[in-house]
């Protein structure tokens, strides 16, 4: 069948370069199956996401970044060749030839060759460890070089240079940025913004050197190299990364006689055609209206126009907006339109808050009616609104400065309703508000579906928040219920189930299933219901009706390990433990031959207990005064603390007592996910409180409270919620925040993602908790009080209940132990035997083993 199709294909389209834009063109062109498309890529891999290249250092692999696969291209019927650099074009015979001598005929040729990093002609630039930042291969080279380097310098303080600096800093190098101009990011932001950005970046430990021209790279004294500057100063470094701008890959056009711009770039018209009507150029190699667009969004727009023009449809490229919003080393930076105020007669308003590190500027037309540009550093919350004012030429309010002033009483916010349907929401994929509405008309019922239909948000990701609010606003208008079903058995979200359980006073899963669900339930809705029932009623979780709802970890009150054994983690509040209790832990571990380790949560974990050993082990621990540590529960784990003012010469509050009080207050509280606290005795932050769900840091006057910190897969620093709180207010706020999270959080949503998804974010949460804007604080506090008042150690209760203990018997009809659980010794302790190490044994009597160990 494919051969038939091949014959029918009238036109051969050859694409040179498979970068982001070349790939976008292929996807657009392949929609029309009449064309025979061939892609020739100089790189060894097909297109990948260059915009998110830096995430390669954050653990993303080449596969994660890939935008397509050979299989996908095959499905589309697209021919492709990698490692196929095109070296010549024959415009008359209409064919191109690659380095390897393969020739391809075309009817239409598309050049999507992108650009390459410019390396200034500094003597010494061609040595090892002098690198650039553009491709996955470059990043591999940088990582390899960083392994044998201590100091790194980025030459160039533009947007990409700062991103590169962040990358080498994360690789552990002492990092410098050298910039020729007097300020950082001179293209996007103004002098004032540049100053503040520099300060913020230096605060993060990256040294910035501006107004420096490198004259030569020499052998270093203390490091591998030495940069010598024209002002006779020097800088020693091991690794040099050039990020001094990009240059279009226009060599093909140069050699084969297509029109070029004065300073390079392949000249194209509004249809993206070059001076040869059969040859198009798109993306970063193309020069339109004497301008090269160094961003993906304009490139995608060109790709679309070229694909349309080749298929005989109408379409024109008319320029693109270059506004950007990004986070550089944690510093928010936004640049919109005419950031430098170059338009004649334009006026500017500036707001600067040095202590908070915030700088905002807007540029308006001489009649103060239109927004022309803006610079935002340190806080880009107004970016979306400002961008929409500019893009849609919306008339400014009477006092435009209100748009950027923090305290403005009635801050003119631009509701998404006010946007015209033509407003561009996602510039990467040119998706308008109208397109989003159309996708909802066509049946999209969730923000996720809107995104996958329209592609909005799948480029740089900067528009995600706006896409969500436009879509949600539209759903709301239509009275569409936003689908958040937890699983096939319940058509409700976690917070709806929470409300149902509390309002209808439902006490068991069976009641809930009968009244609101279907089927038998599953491993998603059962633990969820178990957790909600525990949050609301705080029953003993192994009580008959709840028993079958718990994950194995909750059922056996321990974490199951890979071989089916469990770990034992007693609570050691705040990490404080007496020598006597430490001895008990040691003795118990020894007696039952358990692997012993200090955990990342600053307590002790004993591994390798078989189910039947759990009750005797816990009996000994409970008798010695230990309680369960809930290491298995979606509940409070640890409150990590430093010694604080009691011992430490810098401590300003008694962090230890606070930590222990808090740990005992919230232990056992069931939540959407686990909760961790940290309490530090001063700003040195030895307890790493900012990386915890609830972080508390002592000040001279009390406590600063942080919310939403997270380690784990996606680390996040907590947001500063309130400062200088006294003990009582601190506890009151934490009570309310936790209970509000317990009620509204999604299944398995840590406080970090909860905060990120909370509409209105930190400010909203502050309003709810501190100003009682929802009028629910009294209820939240009562609920928390009830839970604090009904705490029981689950292990203690279990040990007293013969019915519950039956669950820990290995077999209903035998006392033998599971012969598949076997250990070997490593560093004087046990570890699970691996496949080949296991020996075939017959079953032995479990009672014998316990006796032997005793």
């Amino acid at each position: 069948m494919s051969t038939d199709k091949q014959l029918l294909k009238k036109f051969k389209v050859v694409v040179v370069g498979n970068g982001m834009v070349g790939h976008h063109f292929v996807e657009e062109m392949a929609k029309n199956t009449d064309y025979d498309i061939t892609v020739l890529s100089a790189e060894s891999r097909l297109a990948y996401d260059r915009v998110h290249l830096s995430e390669y250092f954050g653990g993303k692999t080449a596969e994660d970044l890939a935008m397509t696969t050979p299989e996908h291209y095959e499905e589309l019927g697209v021919n492709f060749k990698t490692n196929a650099k095109v070296t010549s074009i024959d415009k008359v015979a209409k064919c191109v030839t690659t380095e390897k001598g393969e020739t391809y005929h075309y009817d239409k040729l598309v050049l999507a060759t992108g650009s390459y990093p410019f390396v200034p002609p500094i003597p010494g630039k061609d040595q090892d460890h002098c690198l650039v930042y553009r491709t996955i291969d470059d990043l591999e080279d940088i990582a390899a070089s960083a392994k044998v380097s201590k100091v790194g310098v980025v030459i160039g303080g533009g947007l990409l240079g700062l991103e590169a600096a962040n990358a080498i800093k994360q690789l552990g190098l002492q990092t410098h940025v050298v910039e020729f101009a007097p300020q950082l990011m001179g293209v996007q932001i103004d002098g004032g913004g540049g100053r503040l950005l520099r300060q913020k970046i230096e605060d993060l430990g990256v040294q910035v050197h501006t107004s420096k021209a490198t004259s030569v790279i020499e052998k270093g004294n203390t490091s591998r190299y030495k940069l010598c500057f024209s002002d006779d100063t020097e800088l020693e470094t091991d690794l040099i990364l050039f990020s001094a701008g990009i240059r279009p890959y226009d060599n093909l056009a140069r050699e084969f006689d297509l029109d070029l711009g004065e300073r390079g770039g392949i000249v194209v018209n509004n249809q993206c055609q070059t001076s040869d009507e059969n040859i198009y150029a798109i993306g970063e190699c193309a020069l339109w209206n004497n301008f090269i667009f160094g961003l993906v969004a304009p490139g995608y727009a060109m790709a679309k126009v070229a694909a349309k023009h080749i298929s005989g449809e109408e379409g024109e490229f008319t320029g693109a907006d270059m506004s950007t919003k990004l986070k550089l080393m944690g510093v928010e930076v936004g640049s919109i339109g005419d950031a430098h105020g170059k338009t004649e007669g334009s006026l500017t308003y500036t707001y600067e808050n040095q202590p908070e590190g915030v700088y905002k500027k807007i540029v308006v037309s001489s009649d103060k009616k239109a927004l022309l540009g803006a610079v935002l550093i340190g806080d880009t919350s107004e970016y979306d609104t400002l961008l929409q004012y500019m893009l849609n030429a919306i008339e400014l309010p009477e006092s435009p400065e209100g748009l950027i002033l923090p305290m403005a009483a009635d801050k003119p916010t631009l509701g998404v309703d006010a946007l015209p349907d033509t407003a561009t929401i996602c510039s990467c994929h040119n998706v308008t508000k109208g397109d989003i509405i159309a996708s909802i008309d066509a049946g999209a019922t969730t923000v996720g579906e809107v995104k996958s239909c329209t592609k909005a948000g799948s480029g740089c990701g900067g528009c995600a928040a706006l896409v969500k609010s436009v879509a949600d606003n539209e759903f709301e208008k239509r009275g569409v219920e936003v689908k958040k079903d937890i699983c096939e058995h319940f058509a409700y979200s976690r917070s709806e189930i929470f409300d149902i359980v509390s309002v209808e006073k439902i006490k068991t899963f069976d009641e809930l299933l009968e009244s609101h669900g279907r089927g038998l339930g599953c491993e998603i809705c059962k633990p969820l219901a178990g957790s909600v029932l525990a949050s609301v009623w705080n029953d003993y979780i192994l009580k008959k009706p709840h028993l079958s709802l718990q994950d194995t970890n909750d059922t056996y009150l321990g974490n199951m390990q890979k071989d089916g054994t469990y770990s034992v983690v007693p609570r050691i509040a705040g990490g404080e433990i007496t020598p006597d209790k430490l001895i008990v832990l040691g003795e118990v571990a020894k007696k039952y031959n358990l692997y012993t380790k200090i955990t990342g949560g600053a307590r002790v974990d004993l591994f390798g207990a078989r189910v039947e050993q759990l009750p005797p082990i816990w009996k000994e621990l409970v008798d010695a005064g230990f309680e369960t540590g809930h290491a298995y529960g979606k509940s409070l784990r640890t409150v990590k603390s430093c010694v604080g003012s009691t011992w430490c010469r810098y401590g300003v509050q008694d962090s230890m007592s606070m930590a222990i009080d808090l740990e005992h207050r919230y232990k056992g509280l069931r939540a959407p996910h686990k909760i961790k606290f940290g309490v530090s005795g001063c700003t040195r932050e030895c307890a790493e409180a900012q990386g915890k769900d609830i972080g508390i840091i002592a000040t001279e006057n009390g406590w600063n409270l942080f919310v939403g910190g997270n380690g784990g897969m996606k680390p996040r620093h907590g947001d500063l919620f309130a400062t200088d709180l006294d003990d009582d207010t601190l506890v009151k706020y934490v009570d309310r925040i936790l209970m509000f999270y317990v009620q509204t959080g999604d299944r398995l949503q840590r406080t970090s993602t909860w905060m990120d998804n909370l509409e209105g974010g930190l400010a909203y949460l502050q309003d709810v908790i501190m100003n009682d804007s929802l009028g629910i604080n009294a209820v939240l506090e009562t609920q928390m009080k009830a839970i604090v008042g009904t705490y029981q150690c689950e292990w203690k209760t279990t040990l007293e209940d013969p019915e519950a203990l039956k669950r820990f018997q290995p077999f209903v009809n035998s006392d033998k132990a599971d012969s598949n659980i076997q250990f070997v010794t490593e560093r004087e302790q046990i570890r699970p035997a691996r496949g080949a190490e296991k020996i075939d044994v017959t079953f032995i009597d479990a009672t014998e083993i316990v006796a032997e160990e005793a």
């Binding site: 599953c522 059962k526 089916g564 077999f811 209903v812 599971d818 598949n820």
Partner: protein, 122 residues
């Protein structure tokens, strides 16, 4: 595990435990000697709201490679009664033993309740 070569006629209904040993909507495990004389672990689930009410499958999780299935959560997926492995959460059909996510199958046993006794056919 070697397959039994003996004729199936050797199999009989044997009592494993009493119904009071069952845990509603949850599992227990039993140790049996198969017809080749080897020990075999069986996971027994009691689901009163299902058509069959009681199910028996192998206790060994071939993916997690541990004897843990009786400790998994039970429920249904598209009306098929299943147990979800407590290790990596794959679902196994309690009727056919088929894994819904990967190409694996676990043993299924005939099981019944007679005079408040739980009996397995092996």
């Amino acid at each position: 595990m070697t397959l039994s070569t003996k004729a199936t006629t050797d199999k009989t209904w044997k009592t494993i435990c009493g119904t009071t040993d069952l845990v509603k909507d949850s599992g227990i495990s039993a140790l049996i000697a198969n017809s080749a004389g080897e020990d075999e672990q069986v996971a027994i689930f009691h689901i009163p709201n299902s058509e069959e009410k009681i199910f028996a499958v192998g206790n060994y999780d071939p993916i997690g490679e541990a004897n843990v299935l009786y400790r998994g959560l039970v429920g249904c997926i598209d009306d098929e009664p299943v147990v979800s492995s407590p290790l990596y959460k794959q679902h196994y059909s309690l009727k056919t033993g088929r894994c819904l996510q990967e190409e694996k199958t676990i043993a299924v046993y005939d099981i019944r309740i007679e005079n408040e006794q739980v009996q397995l056919f092996y």
